[in-house]
């Protein structure tokens, strides 16, 4: 234990990450196809939650409409493949480019007021807008969604697809880790802790937030594309508010101010939501009860450290937030 504490933070994180990757890999060698299916969902949700945490935990904004990008990635990709008949690699590139263009537009609208509450509401409103539109438009398959064989040719079997998801998600999460240790992330944390002071030293806070949102939506788009591959199609559920709420709950349960929190939360929430709907009809009730209990008794999540405690109790310092 002493040797563990003497290691630097980065080395500790590297060891934890390596252990996590090796555990998942070894477990997948002995897993059946249905378990692999569940595991690929878990892995994708890990990427989704960590990407969401860029703006939730580190940016201090409340993204209530992250399902927008999740659904958009999968829908654009599937439309490119099924309706456009493009080559798979070309489709992935096109999906990323088109989604990023649209998300730039959406993020600019959301951040125009540069106010976190407005951001939350407008992003949720746009999410509702897209969800309703997807339901109505015949071209994108309306309420049944679009299906088709959209998996990559070398990864069409369940195990092949799992390893693809696993590989891509691992690299993306590593990139997010590097992003969190970049100088830009320091500025981002500043915008969470004290927006006014950041304005004083001459930062354009709106641009900082916009960059963070774009990075986050990029990774969420990739998660969406992978989810479309896993499900062999895109469905309106991906756009729904429930998806974004699930992402928020993952970050909340795991601990949104730590890097590994959302990853842990993703495992827990995915497990609960797949198993519970088999057991009981009132699955939403249990999920709601879990949310309420977590909010009341587990602020800061399961993985919390000293920094988290300070963030959770600003009132003790005598500075009452307006």
């Amino acid at each position: 234990m002493k040797a563990w504490k003497s290691l630097s933070k980065i080395k500790q994180d590297a060891i934890v990450g390596a252990v996590l990757v090796i555990t998942i890999f070894v477990y997948s060698l002995f897993a059946s196809d249905s378990v692999l299916d569940f595991m690929s969902r878990t892995v994708i949700m890990m990427l989704f939650a960590s990407a969401l945490n860029i703006i939730l935990g580190f940016g201090g904004l409340r993204p209530l409409g992250m399902a927008t990008y999740f659904g958009m990635g999968s829908y654009v990709y599937v439309i490119m493949c099924v309706r456009g008949g493009l080559d798979r690699t070309l489709a992935i590139a096109a999906a990323i480019v088109i989604s990023m263009a649209i998300s730039l537009f959406i993020n600019v609208i959301c951040l125009r007021a540069n106010d976190d509450l407005t951001f939350a509401f407008v992003s949720m409103g746009i999410n509702t807008l897209l969800y309703t539109m997807v339901f109505k438009i015949q071209f994108v398959g309306s309420d049944t969604g679009l299906t088709g064989n959209v998996r990559l040719p070398f990864a069409s079997s369940p195990s092949g697809n799992f390893y693809l998801c696993f590989f891509v998600c691992a690299i993306c999460i590593l990139l997010i880790y590097l992003f969190f240790h970049s100088p830009f992330a320091t500025v981002l944390k500043g915008s969470r802790d004290n927006l006014e002071r950041l304005t004083f030293i001459g930062m354009n806070t709106m641009h900082v937030r916009l960059c963070a949102c774009m990075v986050s939506s990029f990774f969420v788009t990739i998660a969406g594309i992978l989810y479309a591959m896993r499900n062999m199609g895109a469905f309106p559920v991906m756009f729904s508010t429930n998806t974004s709420t699930e992402g928020l709950v993952m970050c909340l349960i795991g601990g949104m101010y730590s890097f590994f929190g959302p990853i842990l939360g993703a495992v827990i929430v995915t497990f609960i939501s797949t198993q519970l709907s088999i057991l009981t009809n009132y699955y939403q009730f249990v999920l709601g009860a879990i949310i309420v209990l977590c909010v009341l008794f587990l602020q800061g999540g399961l993985l919390r450290d000293k920094v988290t405690k300070e963030l959770n109790e600003p009132a003790k310092k005598g500075a009452v937030k307006k």
Partner: protein
Amino acid sequence: MTVSFFFQTLISGISNGMVSYLMIAGVSLIISGMSMVNFGQGAFYVLGTYLTYTIAAKIGFVPSLILVPILVAGIGYFVEKATRPLFGKDMLYIMLLTYGVAYMLCDIIVMFWGYSIRLLSLPAFLNGGVKIVGIKFPVYYIFEIVISGITAFAFWLMINKTKLGMLTRAIISDRPMVANLGVNVNQMFSVLFMIGIGIAGLGGVLNAPVTGMSPKEGLSIFGNVMPILCIGGLRNMDGCLPAALLVGLVNAFGAVYLPQYYNVLPAALMVICMFINPKGIFTRREGR
């Protein structure tokens, strides 16, 4: 479009807008007064509708107009109690708490009333039409407009003329100062929250005879009316009524011209309004 059809659409649009105003006024009051967001509002609205199905069958529709909002507000009291420990912390916690409460409420409604969508039959004096200047209007729509108009007026009176409203306005601008003056802020919050939720319950009652509702709609219905908040301005209570009327009218005329996409319109309108003035088009710009 004939003249009579135009006026009928106008009336139905106004009545729709007024009912969504009842729902959104509570949210707006809670946001600007307590700076917390209540996502459960839609669920309380649906709860009001379902309570009406049971209570109106026993004691009639008009008494339930008064009784149901009180019952719903009583439940709101407990929700407000639950949020107490979270004051002063990250606003996300309260958002998620009300989200969780909304999830639970939706499933509780399913437990008691089941999935079947039902419709309330109207009392005789509200059923039918009335002729004004040769154009026939449904009586119930006019009844809706009158009741919600009275509520909106009472709400305005409460904010601007009573002592409670004076303290509310004081809390909006400086909360620690009001607490220092010896006002029991916590108790005030309970009252404000209950008023906000009770108004949503009233909206649910008024809606019960018009639209059949599924219990799971609690969350999505909030997503549909939420653009009103952004159009009117988030921390601007006075902007709610014109924004709600605007959205109601756009919805009603949209349903005539674009029957397939009409429920996309409020959110699309919100996107346009964000470009005009991100603080809400009914908010005065500061410093000019």
